[in-house]
Amino acid sequence: MKYALFPGCTVLGRGRNYEMSTRAVARVLGIEFVDLDDFECCGFPLKSVHYDTYYIMAARNILTAEEEGLDICTLCSACTGSLTEVNKHLNENFDEKAKLIAQFKKQGIEFRMGRGIRVKHLVKILYEEIGTKKIEGYIKKKLSNLTFAPHYGCHYLKPSDIYEPAEDPENPKSLDELIAVTGAKVVNYSEKLKCCGAGILAINEDTAYSLTRPKLKELSDNSVDAIVLMCPFCSVMYDDNQKKIEQKFQEQYNLPVLYYPQTLGLAMGLEPKVLGLQMNRVSTKALLEKIK
């Protein structure tokens, strides 16, 4: 199983713990990652500003992977959304793809016309390609003492019609089941499907943090051990900015935030340090104590 790893801007800039745990878990499962030097931003930040620029940026990354004969594994849900949407369009419109390749050629950027690739989020690869049954075989240390709240975020699920197969965005199961396989308890909660607010952080901090708050508030009351997620921008909101949000609303959450591969890694018996847990902003000490 081999993929071109597309970490995306936010993971490279602010999510080394996500990248470390991803690579560590992949090594155990036998997923091979190829790092392509030519990958740049997926284009998502420009979708709302200039659609053509967004589209061409995404397409160039896709064609770069196709040139190497590789499918793409994404880590960020926003990258997943952009690359999946444009990839679907390219795969369904070969004439346009050929035109785009011709335009790149004029610029001295050469791509061969291929049959298309697939783009998949890491968690979807774990769930759909490897499967919980097989993952169960790698669990060495059941996390039975821990209770987690899954956070799916938005672009991992939506818009659902760009994904194949699509998951029901009103009742998603993949992350719940992947957490359950570690032996941990999974809670259902009323704010489960809410947006983290990251999409408007740069436009208006107050509104963005007001979107982040309800989930933190509900889960701090429920005494779960951590929120488990798989998007670096969601993590920026819940983990990196949790202190700020506590101050802003004069509330205490103290809610650890784990990336899914960190959670899985712990259950595989990997060292917290190898999974980058020392880099998580909200201390994970208490939950690590519980599984000692």
Partner: protein, 164 residues
């Protein structure tokens, strides 16, 4: 009434993402599903759609609130008419940019992307840290993003804002 531009909805429908705008029958599930609306009543998807269909071009494009969509797609998933309001908002924002309304946050991001090919610069210092953690070196971007921006003319569009 001079402010009304009855052709505005066609203009929106021609932008990528705006194609389905005319299908709206005003049920309001977009507004009911919107997490931003829950926090700030000034952002109201159904109202924005009515304003577009009525041709209130200036008032839509000038409005700071069009930038408040968090792009969560909750409305898009629930819309019984397939309007894809998240995509409509992108179409509207693209039109606003053409008219010279671009929030500074985006101008900053465009600057970073042009310079580094990413929203963050990964320099020697970062690469040393990465090496210490056993992560592979991140190569300096080769400028593909900058070249794409030059070709699509996004710089010229942003410039227009500065002239305003």
């Amino acid at each position: 009434m001079n402010e009304i531009d009855p052709k505005f909805k066609y203009e929106v429908a021609q932008e990528p993402g705006g194609e389905k705008i005319k299908l709206c029958f005003a049920c309001g599930i977009c507004t009911a599903s919107c997490p931003v609306r829950e926090i700030d009543e000034r952002y109201n998807p159904r109202k924005i759609i009515r304003m577009i269909l009525l041709g209130m071009k200036r008032r839509v494009l000038e409005n700071d609130f069009i930038w408040f969509c968090s792009s969560c797609y909750a409305c898009t998933e629930r819309c019984p008419q397939g309007v894809r309001f998240t995509d409509v908002m992108n179409a509207i924002k693209n039109l606003a940019v053409k008219e010279g309304y671009v929030p500074n946050a985006y101008i900053q991001q465009i600057g970073l992307l042009r310079q580094f090919g990413r929203l963050y610069e990964i320099d020697e210092f970062d690469n040393n840290k990465r090496a210490a953690m056993g992560l592979p070196k991140v190569a300096k971007a080769k400028g593909f993003t900058r070249r794409i921006m030059e070709i699509t003319g996004i710089d010229r569009i942003i410039q227009r804002k500065n002239e305003k």
